[in-house]
């Protein structure tokens, strides 16, 4: 016989150390069990889409950095692809390889952060997170060599990248690639078959595939539910049609699978980076385009990439002016949260934050 208690409504966030930003949940509990949940957004809403209507096409690159601020490169890439579609131009091959390379490094950095905070939410305070940050820090050092910034990078431009990589970038990248397997091996050894991680996350907060698809869930969360759908394969952009990689997929859709898919994707990303280093050839890294871009009036483009969180897309409409008439951002973090209610209701308070960590959201992108 189950004993019910008086329902209690608890407010989690927006200032909560483990909600990964200013995210708020209104949760009703029956004892420890979640009965109802309502996510509340908007605490980081800066009106990026409106701001974009007031800036020219190149300036908007800096706005995209501030969406998902742990994977700025991929945001830049999605936006630049949309502008290039709008203009009907294509960047030179070297730019395509550079973009693919940095986007994959960024994916590794973003996934490492997702994994680090996920196990931190499980109670592994500090150690695994620092292991992840150690490697992420080296990736940020590489980015610093490319563009001088570490987080808000603005490295890409419509038509290519801001500048070719400096000479000493390549030896530094090689050192990183040499050190990476043993560093990541340590993280894998520590976490992948860790008994506590397995017991706490296997079979918890399962997301069936049909519900995931119907809720427009994308990225690692969708792949953990059993569908090998990756826009890098399905609609190849930049140099993704030139490199070989696999799409890791899991079947159970539980917290462990979402974590596992991210771990495997890191291996694939490094594989892509290695191929880019081998295949890249000298040449221009940026197309000669005017400083102020004016796409033809009435044109529109939907530029999409497989970001670290899911399908990130920019829907741009031009009226012939120097700034887009409309710049809509399809944010994977926000739309992945559509499944929150299903993921949380019926599960325990202790699993709530872990589940949110496994979905890996970024509030800069949710609220925009």
């Amino acid at each position: 016989m189950t004993i019910h208690t008086e329902p209690m409504t608890v407010n989690v966030g927006p200032q909560h150390p483990s909600t990964h930003g200013v995210f708020r949940l209104r949760v009703t509990f029956d004892g420890e069990e979640i009965m109802e949940v309502e996510p509340v957004f908007g605490y980081l809403h800066r009106g990026t889409e409106k701001l974009a209507e007031e800036r020219n096409y190149v300036q908007i690159v800096t706005l995209t950095d501030r969406l998902d601020y742990v994977s700025s490169m991929i945001n830049n890439q999605a936006y630049c692809l949309a502008v290039e579609k709008l203009l009907g131009v294509e960047p030179p091959p070297r730019a395509k390889y550079l973009r693919t390379l940095v986007a994959e490094l960024q994916r590794v950095a973003s996934h490492l952060m997702g994994i680090g905070f996920f196990v931190q939410d499980l109670g592994a305070l500090g150690t695994p997170l620092m292991y992840c940050f150690r490697t992420r820090e080296k990736i940020l050092d590489l980015f610093e060599m490319l563009c001088g910034a570490r987080i808000t990078l603005s490295y890409m431009r419509p038509g290519g990248v801001f500048a070719d990589a400096p000479k000493d970038f390549w030896p530094a990248l090689n050192t990183f690639l040499e050190e990476f397997p043993s560093e990541f091996g340590e993280i894998e050894q520590l976490l992948l078959e860790n008994e506590i991680v397995m017991v706490r996350t296997r079979g918890v907060s399962t997301l069936p595939l049909d519900l995931a698809v119907n809720s427009s869930v994308s990225g690692p969360v969708l792949r953990a539910s059993g569908l090998a759908w990756d826009w890098r394969k399905m609609e190849p952009y930049d140099a993704y049609d030139q490199v070989e990689f696999d799409v890791p997929v899991a079947q159970n859709g539980d917290n462990y699978d979402r974590f596992w898919v991210r771990m495997q994707e890191i291996h694939q990303s490094i594989r892509i980076v290695r191929q880019c280093v081998e295949q890249i050839e000298p040449g221009p890294a940026r197309l000669e385009l005017p400083l102020v871009l004016r796409p033809r009036p009435g044109t529109e483009a939907y530029g999409r990439v497989e970001a670290s969180k899911g399908e990130l897309a920019f829907y741009l409409v031009s009226d012939g002016g120097i700034s887009p008439y409309r710049c809509k951002i399809r944010s994977p973090s926000l739309i992945n949260l559509t499944a929150t209610e299903h993921l949380l209701v019926g599960w325990k308070l202790a699993d709530m934050i872990v589940t949110l960590g496994s979905v890996d959201i970024n509030m800069g992108e949710v609220d925009r």
């Binding site: 009106g47 609609e235 399809r330």
Partner: protein
């Protein structure tokens, strides 16, 4: 699964034929890859797009809205995982006040937050949405900031 390994956009002319046959009077016009629908028939057409075995659009990528001063256009981007094709569906709402569209929430759960966002920032109501309230801004906020006449 179709033979194609990558995703291809579907020609709007082909799509228009199928949709118009299943939901008569729903198609307004088509051009290249874009199909315009009658606003009042959007949910019926969406139901057909979702459930027809030839189309099988089980994934709603995005709902966007664009303000063209005399009308607001709502855009649906769709993908079929099984047939590996995509489509762009649009509908035009004329006027500035009391704009509304039938909700596609019951067809794609993924419309939940996106329809709330369009209501919040662009001021288009979705009839049949179970929880249509502001999402980014707070209740009591006046106006819809993404409209061209807001600022």
């Amino acid at each position: 699964m179709s033979a194609s390994t990558t995703v291809q956009p579907l020609e709007a002319e082909y799509l228009a034929g199928l949709v118009d046959e299943a939901v008569p009077g729903s198609v307004v016009r088509w051009e290249d890859l874009t199909l315009w629908l009658e606003p009042s028939r959007v949910a019926d057409a969406a139901h057909f797009l979702r459930n027809s075995p030839n189309l099988d659009f089980q994934f709603l990528n995005a709902i966007s809205a664009v303000d063209y001063i005399d009308h607001i256009e709502v855009v649906y981007h769709l993908t079929s995982f099984t047939h590996r094709h995509t489509a762009v569906i649009k509908t035009k709402l004329f006027g500035r006040e009391q704009l509304s569209l039938p909700s596609v929430y019951n067809i794609w759960r993924g419309a939940d937050f996106q329809e709330r966002e369009v209501w919040d920032l662009m001021g288009v109501r979705f009839e049949g949405h179970p929880n249509l309230k502001r999402i980014m801004l707070w209740e009591g906020f006046e106006g819809h900031p993404l409209r061209k006449d807001y600022l």
